[in-house]
Subunit: 200 residues, 2 copies
């Protein structure tokens, strides 16, 4: 036994987080017990609250503490411009760009026949419902350039192609194979600006 039991438990928790190895976990645990007691109590509460209270927005599916997220309930956002994303994490990347004035739709997955994930397993029907209530909407399909991403893009394009919906995708400023969540904001900004209409 190298560490006191409680310290070992702290270290074990930190090791569950991405990019944290033995040495970092020890440093983080030791730094933790040197924080102010009030900070630790506050963090302890935030931990439990964030797990319990952060839920998908009932409109777009991004994380929120309320029923409707702050983006969907913002009157300055263009509700006719919907950026379709694989998961809620992409919202933070786009919001950091700071240039996007539309709203989002979180699919919560991609169509993947290999993994038996069909269109009915991801949030496509709710997207169709949203779009039907709009006039001349534009969908920006911001999905990654894997087989699953392309399949999903094509599937969504097909649904809307005979309707009065502009469909675009992010431009190929995105490096092939890169995760949208970890892109630098300049590339992401360019990709937004250069988005391409998906033509027949």
């Amino acid at each position: 036994m190298i560490y006191p039991d409680l310290l070992q438990k702290l270290i074990n928790f930190y090791k569950k987080l991405p990019g944290v190895g033995d040495k970092s976990a020890e440093r983080m645990a030791l730094a933790t017990i040197e924080l102010k007691a009030e900070d630790i109590k506050e963090f302890s509460k935030v931990l439990v609250d964030s797990k319990e209270k952060l839920k998908p927005c009932q409109i777009c599916g991004q994380l929120t503490e309320n029923d409707i997220c702050h983006i969907c309930s913002d009157d300055n956002r263009d509700k006719n411009l919907i950026c379709v994303i694989e998961d809620y994490k992409s919202v933070f990347s786009f919001e950091k760009v700071g240039n996007y004035h539309g709203v989002y739709h979180v699919l919560n997955g991609l169509i993947s026949p290999m993994d038996s994930i069909g269109p009915e397993d991801i949030n496509i029907s709710s997207l169709v419902k949203r779009v039907e209530a709009l006039k001349n909407p534009e969908l920006i399909l911001a999905l990654k350039s894997t087989i699953e991403g392309e399949t999903t893009t094509l599937y969504i394009k097909k649904i809307f192609e005979k309707k009065d919906v502009t469909i675009s995708r992010l431009s190929y400023g995105i490096p092939i194979g890169a995760e949208i969540d970890y892109l630098d904001i300049i590339t992401l900004d360019k990709a937004l600006e250069d988005r391409k209409r998906i033509s027949e």
Copy 2:
């Protein structure tokens, strides 16, 4: 506002930890809310407990959940061999080596006239009391080789020099595996000074 409020608070906490920047804090916060609710509740409890319950051992000063730490209460440890260290973190380094069978004494600081830290401000009187109760004890002074470390080492050596106490310090020298060509000259000088005769 890029993140929901609770997520931002999680990120802010992680950013207080050493070596965690914006990007890592975001990744860690997102990974946190994807952990199981029971793991998070457990962690939340461990956080508060570790701050409240980890206290200095009444004998050696290292962190423990009890009055006396598991090392001081271990009958297999040599109580006559005391490794004197600046802070409790060094205990973990020595325990990882796994080869040390003595006990510890945490000074909780070093003598530093520049910072108005005198011998009475660190745990020296408790060390004197411990040593007086022992027969032929050995003290290993494992303090760093700064002015403060050297001053403290000399001060402790002086206290015990006329008593029946063996005083040693860690050897200085070349770290295992290091290239001699790239060593700093002070280390090399020490390694020359502390050279060991190669015995038959």
